[in-house]
């Protein structure tokens, strides 16, 4: 550790974070390859679309585990809002959207980060659950009823995209 620097995240935190991030990006890549016919060529590096699908299923499991660990690990710090401090932050939108002289002090993570964490947690869980049904309904041939549960996976991809959209804005300010 270099002198004058503060350790913000432990090695375990960084490991879980990257496990979640890498599996999520791989899921995006493999998912898009199946969602759009024009992107079917994404399957080439997996030895074809069938390989892509199998990889997608297993990466989904890794994603589920990573998500569970991440939620457990960050819930106390980033999962619950603390009032009134967080409310003060909201009033200024954290200084992101207009000029603010003084941004309210918050805990380790500010409410913006908390909202982002909660979005990841909620949609990640939705993604995992629907994906699980998607796989299982195929194996067990549960038929029509499960289809209603299985198909939302495509939509969750949309939400995923939207998340990245939000994320790019937020991180744009940090860079």
């Amino acid at each position: 550790m270099k002198k004058g620097l503060i350790l913000v995240t432990s090695g375990y935190e960084r490991f879980v974070h990257w496990m979640l991030a890498i599996s999520c990006l791989l899921l995006c890549y493999t998912g898009l390859g199946m969602m759009f016919e024009s992107l079917n060529f994404f399957g080439v590096i997996f030895g074809g679309l069938k390989g892509l699908k199998i990889a997608h299923n297993f990466i989904g499991l890794v994603f589920g585990v990573a998500l569970g660990l991440a939620i457990k690990m960050w819930w106390k710090e980033a999962g619950v809002f603390v009032f009134p401090e967080d409310f003060e932050w909201f009033k200024t939108a954290g200084g992101y959207l207009w000029h603010v002289d003084k941004v309210a002090e918050t805990g380790k993570y500010n409410p913006g980060q908390k909202m982002f964490f909660l979005t990841v947690a909620a949609f990640g869980l939705l993604m995992f659950v629907t994906g699980f049904f998607h796989v299982v309904s195929g194996i067990l041939s549960l038929g029509k009823r499960s289809a209603a549960l299985a198909l939302p996976i495509a939509c969750i991809g949309v939400c995923g995209d939207f998340r990245v959209f939000l994320c790019s804005f937020v991180s744009g300010y940090y860079w």
Binding site: A150, L151, A154
Partner: protein, 266 residues
């Protein structure tokens, strides 16, 4: 080539099952071990190696007369086909000429989305080959100006293959001739099918018929509406980021406060 459809007229069908055999032969499908289940209907249902069957049904009408009802079950080749919409690999596709629904097994990855989506419960999954199978309206024949194998084999004229408008007219005429409860089935659903029935009784009377087949709502919502939206969102990510970059650029860190003022953490 004009859009063509297939017509099955149950009032002309003798259930000889010549079509079933011709289907197996043309598509080089294996036979299954049959079993006496107290009906002539065999095989009992569609299977990966059975693209069509004739249903046998003992039906007692309002006057107490026993009738035999037959029905040919096979892919209906929807105009708005849920299976084509959900297929991730393009294995299920519309035939460019006849608009029927073909299936390219080279591309099929066995995900079974079509099995869940089909309003008529047609596609069947084979665990051995890990692929899905169904009638493709003898794509190899119809694209070469021949009728499907089942139509070719039919000795009574219960099966016809022809230009859509002509078949629709012929079906309407036949229903009129039959009178009573006779009705057409198929032409009204899922944007019109490329396989339709003339039935001598009300469609609801037929066993295992799909009374109100439609594209599942989940397919319409996710694939029809939200899938295009996701493209918009993706474009938003790229466009928004770029716009932000050219308008605001990167954030430069505020100048560090001098050590003097912050000494002691106050």
């Amino acid at each position: 080539m004009a859009e063509k459809i297939k017509l099955y007229d149950d009032s002309k069908c003798t259930a000889c099952r010549g079509c079933q055999l011709a289907c197996k032969q043309w598509n080089a499908l294996t036979a299954s071990q049959t079993e006496n289940r107290g009906t002539y209907q065999n095989p009992p249902s569609l299977a990966p190696n059975t693209f069509m069957i004739i249903h046998y049904q003992d039906y007692v009408d309002g006057k107490g007369n026993v009738k035999w009802l037959f029905r040919k079950e096979a892919c209906m080749h929807c105009t708005d086909a849920a299976c084509v919409t959900v297929c991730p690999s393009g294995a299920l596709h519309y035939n460019k000429e006849t608009k029927t629904v073909g299936l390219d097994h080279e591309k099929c990855i066995g995900c079974r989305e079509c099995v869940a989506a089909c309003p008529f419960e047609i596609p069947r999954y084979d665990a051995k080959t890990e692929k899905v199978y169904k009638c493709d309206m003898c794509e190899s024949r119809i694209t070469n100006n021949m009728e499907p194998a089942c139509v070719k084999a039919c000795p009574t004229g219960a099966l016809q293959w022809g230009v859509k408008e002509d078949i629709l007219k012929a079906a309407a005429r036949r229903v009129e001739t039959l009178g009573g409860d006779a009705a057409t089935y198929g032409d009204k659903y899922v944007g019109g099918t490329h396989f339709m029935y003339v039935l001598k009784e009300k469609p609801a009377v037929y066993e295992n018929i799909h009374k109100d087949p439609k594209v599942p709502l989940s397919v319409t919502i996710w694939k029809g509406w939200l899938k295009p939206l996701s493209l918009l969102a993706a474009a938003g990510v790229v466009g928004g980021s770029f716009l932000h970059y050219i308008l605001h650029g990167p954030k430069r860190p505020d100048p560090e406060p001098t050590d003097e003022k912050t000494e002691g953490g106050k």
